[in-house]
Symmetry: C3
Subunit: 127 residues, 3 copies
């Protein structure tokens, strides 16, 4: 159900790019009960001019290996679930894809259930 | 008024890419009263690693020809208008651009009217 | 704190692309109190088929030099702050990057503070 946009600098081997997407999806399933069969991701790789970051933000250093994860998903998850989701994404990105936790940036955009059609021109979650 | 992001796999001929954008815009005009002269679209084509989908979701098979349409638009449309919009996008994408309805994924992001400036540094819809 | 997506047609020299991002960031800091050290931007350049605009919208002509700025940021800014932000973005884009004000399109997407993790897998603004 979530639609995930992942943005990173170009230059990683394809297996590393795939590992990043896999880690984000697994975290969504494990921490936020996203459907396991709902892995829809738009993954873009950018040059230095295309993905801009400061040297650090709020005391956390940022490197060119940073990854931006923006997730559009149904509203309704609690603050605690969101907190667990952030921790799980960072944990799995480090463990499975070698991304330093400080380099993981996550943005959630929440929408009502009626705002999705996942195929067939039908409103998926509201009948 | 809507800002539309359309994402698809690379490889379609340019005329097919254009037909997809045209179909989405026409559906917005016909089903959701979007302004006919407000066709603003960001269309991106991706390799297999850049646009990821499951083999099927909620019983609807997905192919590599799938198209993701994410629309940022003013809040306020009813559930019924949204439902009609999904149906019209899928109908026109099939008829005008040969996209199988099961391969059409639509995500709406709604914002208040004050959240747009369409030129001149002015707030467009709230004076 | 804002995550900014800037989309433009390809063909500008790199310095002009950088100037556009700098102008948008400076406007956010000056008009909307965004943190000066929080410049996170995803900048994409597109061919004619990838960034589509009408010849004009609501009486304001659009050229191929148009720039789309979509900002995801915390909710809570007033209409007047948003109005000042639009004016400042257009002003600085013209002054610092030579973009005609009529060619500046701005879309705001607002989220609650709990919807961000800026590093370390932690919820940044809600403890």
């Amino acid at each position: 159900m979530p639609l995930v946009r992942i943005s990173m600098r170009e230059g990683r081997p394809p297996a590393a790019v795939t590992a990043i997407g896999d880690a984000v999806h697994r975290a969504l399933v494990e921490a936020a009960k996203a459907p396991a069969d709902g892995k829809f991701q738009i993954v873009t790789e950018h040059g230095p001019d295309g993905l801009v970051h400061p040297p650090s933000y709020m005391g956390v250093p940022k490197s060119d290996a940073f990854v931006v994860v923006q997730i559009t998903m149904n509203a309704g998850r609690t603050v605690e679930v969101k907190r667990a989701l952030y921790a799980k994404i960072a944990e799995l990105l480090e463990k499975d894809a070698g991304v330093r936790p400080g380099d993981v940036i996550i943005s959630l955009v929440e929408v009502p259930q009626e705002n999705w059609s996942w195929g067939g021109g039908e409103m998926t979650y509201v009948k």
